[in-house]
Every structure is written in C-alpha cells, then in structure tokens.
C-alpha cells in the first residue's frame, strides 16, 4: 500500500534539507500521502517496522526536528480549506496548507489570522508546531488560534481534540514538534479580514532607544531590527490604516516604507534576501526584554562586530497556556541572532546564549540552541504533563529520534553536540 504512495522522484533523490541547507537528512523514504487513511497506513507500518516517521512542513527550521533516517512524511497533498463558518469566525484547514495559501483562502471568505510572522512559505501545522510567532503585545503565537483538530497518533489511530472535550490535549498539541501525532486537520478561531498599514522607519539606537516602550504600546504590531555594524535600527509599525504612532512623533526617524494592503499581503516576502542563514532566538520576560537586548547589543559590539553583519530582531508576544510555548504564562520579548550560512554561527550563538539564559530565556523550538531536556524542563512548569500526554499518544516512540529523545526525555547538553 505505502509503496503506491511513494513519490518515486523524491525517493530517488532520497534527501531532505531545511531551507538554509544547514540541516540535511537521508531518509529511507519521503512519502506524500493524499488521504488521512494513507497517512494512518504509513504510521502503522513504521510502528510495526520499528521505524521512525517524522512529518516535514516547509523546512523552515534550523533544528533537526525533521531529521531521520526512517520515513519523512510531507503533507503537500493535504492542503486547502475543509470548511468554514464566517458568522462564527471559524475555519478548518488541512494541515499541509501553507500560510500563504491559507491567507488567500481565508481572505476570500472574509476571514483572517489575527497575526502573522515574517514568512509565508511555512505550512500552518509546521508553524504552529514549532511556536512560530509574529509581534505585538496583544497577540499570542500563531498556534494561539488553534481550537481543535484531528491527528494521527503513534499507533495510527485518529484522535480528535478540542477545548471542550480535552483541553489539556489541545494545550499540549499547540506547540508539540510533531511528537504527539501528525495533524491532518486543524480548527481555527479567526477574525474578520482586515487591512494593515505597514510603515518602516530608519534611525539609530541612540535616537530611538527611549521611544521603544511607547512604540510597543502604541502600535498593533511593532518590532525592530538592529544592525550591529552601524548601530542603525529599522522600526516596523503595522496598524489599521491611519492608526498607531503619529508620524509627527517619529521625527527622530526617516520613513522608508509606507504600504497599505490586506492582512495576508503584509507578510514581508523576503524575496530580496537569500535564505542561507542560521538563527538563534530566545524569548525572555517582556519586563526584562530591553535590558537583555541592551546587554546583547553590547556583547555583539564588543565580541562579534568583526564577524557578524546580520541584524538582530526584537519582537513582543502575548502570554498563552500552551504547555511548550515559549510564551507560556508570561509576556515575552524575543531576541534573535542571525548569521550567514557560509560563516560560522556556533561561536557567535554559544557566546550569546548564556546571556539569554541569565534572563531565563526559552529557546525557539525551530531555531539553533544547545539546551536539552534537563535544562528545558526547568523552563516549563507543565513539562512532565506534556511528556505524559506524548507517551500516551506515541507509546512506542514512532515519532521520536535521537535528537528528540535528547530534547524531551533524557538529554544532557554535555553529551550532545549543538544542533
């Protein structure tokens, strides 16, 4: 049965890599099921064979969450809208739908995600599973709109879940790295479609520093890039047309971009830059966020200006209750470090990481970090509860790899190479 599902071209290539090329895998098979029942067959076969199966989204991660020498499943054939209710503001999508596809489908039906990140190529389920987020103190990460769905568990069973019948499973599933099962359908709590005005300003740190707290409060979505080799800053303000910080109050900055469009068109496509970079991002408590960034800025200027040209990105996120969300139970500010894929990133990242840890930072699940289970469980109050749910849904560990074992079960950073 599963041989029929095999995409022979993919099988011949027998390779998978993430978007930057820094993570590669050589699985036995790359499969693209077209139905839920085909997916169940794949998982059951892998369970019977003692083979690991991992689900891949768009590969927009810098950690080996997909890497396996077993089977990689792509949901590229399970995309689109299942149904929707414009009056209730809800919709159900197939899990392989990309954010770009979802944006178009939902907009034509008058619905919208309340917030988005910076990239539209990710699949919805993949973005949820790794805790992808946008920015704005009133908005949680992307998975915060997940209200239920269907997944194929490690035993090949279909498990439906929702907030009424199994709220703990929902809170575990939102950010779960594909370790509870493989999503097939996801139910979303959305809002009416809307327009956004995106303004971008250039300035420098000494000019804008004191204004950052107000900019966070006054704008629907605000974030900023800091450029280490010049101390220049790009401010990004997204609001309903005409909203947000008055232009006259930004006399310390130069307006370089001013566009208004439907919400799904405001995601920067990043077509003007390459994809060959690696990234580390930590979420710290928002009240300490700017202090942490100031120290990070000083450390970059002191230690890394010679070797790092890429900007640092600072965003805010609302708290939530997802068990492995980096925003679990606290307002967060995220700080990310980026380096060209062709240049060494670990000396830079491992120099910066202890600073983020001093602030009880939680590493983004899809970006570079060195933490393992022993350290991570101290950061998540419901860590063990999540693991119980995961073991219940995947008793034989068909979704687990050596990396995920180290990350979620028994890892020690001294025993595992950085990934």
């Amino acid at each position: 049965m599963t041989q029929d599902i095999l995409d022979e071209d993919d099988h011949e290539e027998a390779g998978w890599e993430n978007w930057s090329g820094s993570i590669t895998a050589d699985p036995d098979e790359i499969l693209e099921p077209e139905t839920e029942s085909e997916l169940q067959d794949i998982v059951r076969r892998c369970a019977d064979d003692g083979t690991t199966v991992r689900v891949a989204g768009a590969g927009h991660s810098w950690t080996p969450v997909v890497e396996t020498d077993g089977v990689i499943v792509s949901l590229a054939n399970m995309t689109g809208l299942v149904d929707h209710d414009p009056d209730a503001g809800t919709a159900t999508l197939y899990a392989g739908t990309t954010l770009e596809e979802a944006g178009t489908e939902l907009h034509t039906r008058g619905l919208a995600f309340p917030n988005l990140g910076d990239v539209s190529m990710q699949t919805v389920a993949g973005a949820f599973g790794t805790g992808t987020h946008g920015t704005g103190p009133e908005f949680g990460n992307l998975s915060s709109v997940l209200t239920g769905g269907r997944l194929v568990t490690g035993t090949g069973e279909i498990r439906e879940f929702n907030a009424e019948d199994n709220p703990d499973l929902l809170r575990a599933a939102k950010v779960s790295l594909g370790t509870l099962g493989i999503f097939t359908e996801i139910e979303l709590d959305l809002q009416d479609t809307y327009k956004i005005q995106r303004r971008e300003y250039c300035t420098n740190w000494r000019e804008c520093k004191e204004h950052i707290p107000n900019l966070i409060e006054e704008n629907r979505n605000f974030d900023f890039y800091w450029y280490p080799r010049s101390d220049e800053v790009k401010l990004r303000l997204l609001n309903g047309p005409g909203g947000g910080t008055d232009h006259d109050d930004l006399e310390y900055a130069t307006l370089v971009e001013n566009q208004t469009g439907w919400w799904q068109e405001t995601i920067p496509a990043h077509d003007d830059i390459g994809r060959e970079f690696d990234e580390m991002e930590y979420a710290v408590a928002r009240e300490n966020g700017l202090e942490c960034f100031e120290k990070a800025r000083e450390r970059v200027r002191e230690n890394w200006r010679k070797d790092v040209g890429w900007r640092m990105l600072v965003r805010t996120i609302a708290p939530d209750e997802a068990m492995l969300s980096t925003e679990y139970d606290r307002e967060a500010m995220t700080i990310s470090c980026i380096q060209n894929a062709d240049l060494e990133h670990w000396p830079y990242f491992t120099d910066m990481e202890p600073l983020f840890r001093e602030y009880d930072g939680r590493p983004h699940w899809g970006k570079k970090h060195t933490l393992r289970a022993a350290e991570l469980e101290e950061l998540y109050p419901e860590w063990e509860h999540f693991q119980e749910i995961r073991r219940d849904l995947d008793p034989e560990g068909v979704f687990m790899t050596d990396y995920l074992e180290a990350l979620l079960e028994d890892g020690s950073s001294s025993e595992v190479e950085p990934t």
């Binding site: 420098n204 080799r229 101390d231 830059i273 040209g309 890429w310 900007r311 380096q339 060209n340 240049l343």
Partner: protein, 132 residues
C-alpha cells in the same frame, strides 16, 4: 548645442570593470554612530542613460571570494555603498585585507574611500579604482 556635443553627452563616462586592491575595513570606531563608524565605501557614478547593473566581488588573501553582491545604480545617478553594510550572501569579515572587483553592464566610474575613526584624530582616504 551641436550634434557632436549631443553625441558626447550621450556617451557614458567610465569603464565596465574596476578593481580596488587596497580594501581593509578598520574594526574599531570612535564617536557617535552611524556617522563615525569606520568603513570602506564604494562611490559609483553612472552618467549613462541605462540602469547600471553591477556585481561586486571581494577577494581575500587566502583566495576566498565573497559575493557576488548584486547592486544597481540608476541612470545619471551616483550611489555610495558601504562595504560594512553588505550582508547577503556573505557578511565580509572586518579587519582583513581584501580587494574589490566591480563588473558593470554599462560604463561607470568607481571611486573608493575609507573612514578610519579608531583614534580621535580621524582619518579618511580616497582613490580611484583601476578601470578597464
């Protein structure tokens, strides 16, 4: 204006390939940034009627090549490009000797300058590249 003057005016000034061997971005700076950050800079003048499409490649002493960095300069415009600001596909490491090769689809004029603010007595230098 005579016909010959008009033809002269329409002939772009410059060359399509330029080389500056003496690149070296100082690692330190003194004074408020970004104004006083030490840097190397390319100044490209396009006097012609067409958009100039450039590829900038950096060559290091160990044989490593960085780039090419695609750049453009609009018709009848000058553009200043700090080497420090190049990021993609490869942020040039500072403090290392390198050379700059500029290739353009139309004739342009390329000048090179350096601002070195490592000490309070700031230094600047400027030179033309070698064109052919």
């Amino acid at each position: 204006m005579t016909d010959s003057d008009s033809e002269t005016d329409e002939t772009p000034i410059g060359e399509t390939r330029w080389v500056i061997p003496g690149g070296h971005v100082p690692t330190g700076s003194t004074g408020p940034e970004p104004e006083m950050v030490s840097h190397d800079k390319l100044c490209v003048l396009n006097t012609g009627p067409e958009m100039a499409t450039l590829e900038v490649t950096l060559r290091y002493g160990d044989g490593h090549e960085a780039g090419p960095y695609p750049l453009s300069v609009a018709s009848e415009r000058v553009r200043h490009i700090r080497i420090n600001d190049l990021i993609d596909p490869y942020a040039p490491p500072l403090g290392r000797d390198y050379a700059i090769v500029v290739e353009s689809n139309v004739p342009v004029v390329v000048q090179f300058s350096r601002q070195d603010t490592r000490q309070a007595e700031n230094a600047t230098l400027s030179t033309m590249g070698y064109g052919e």
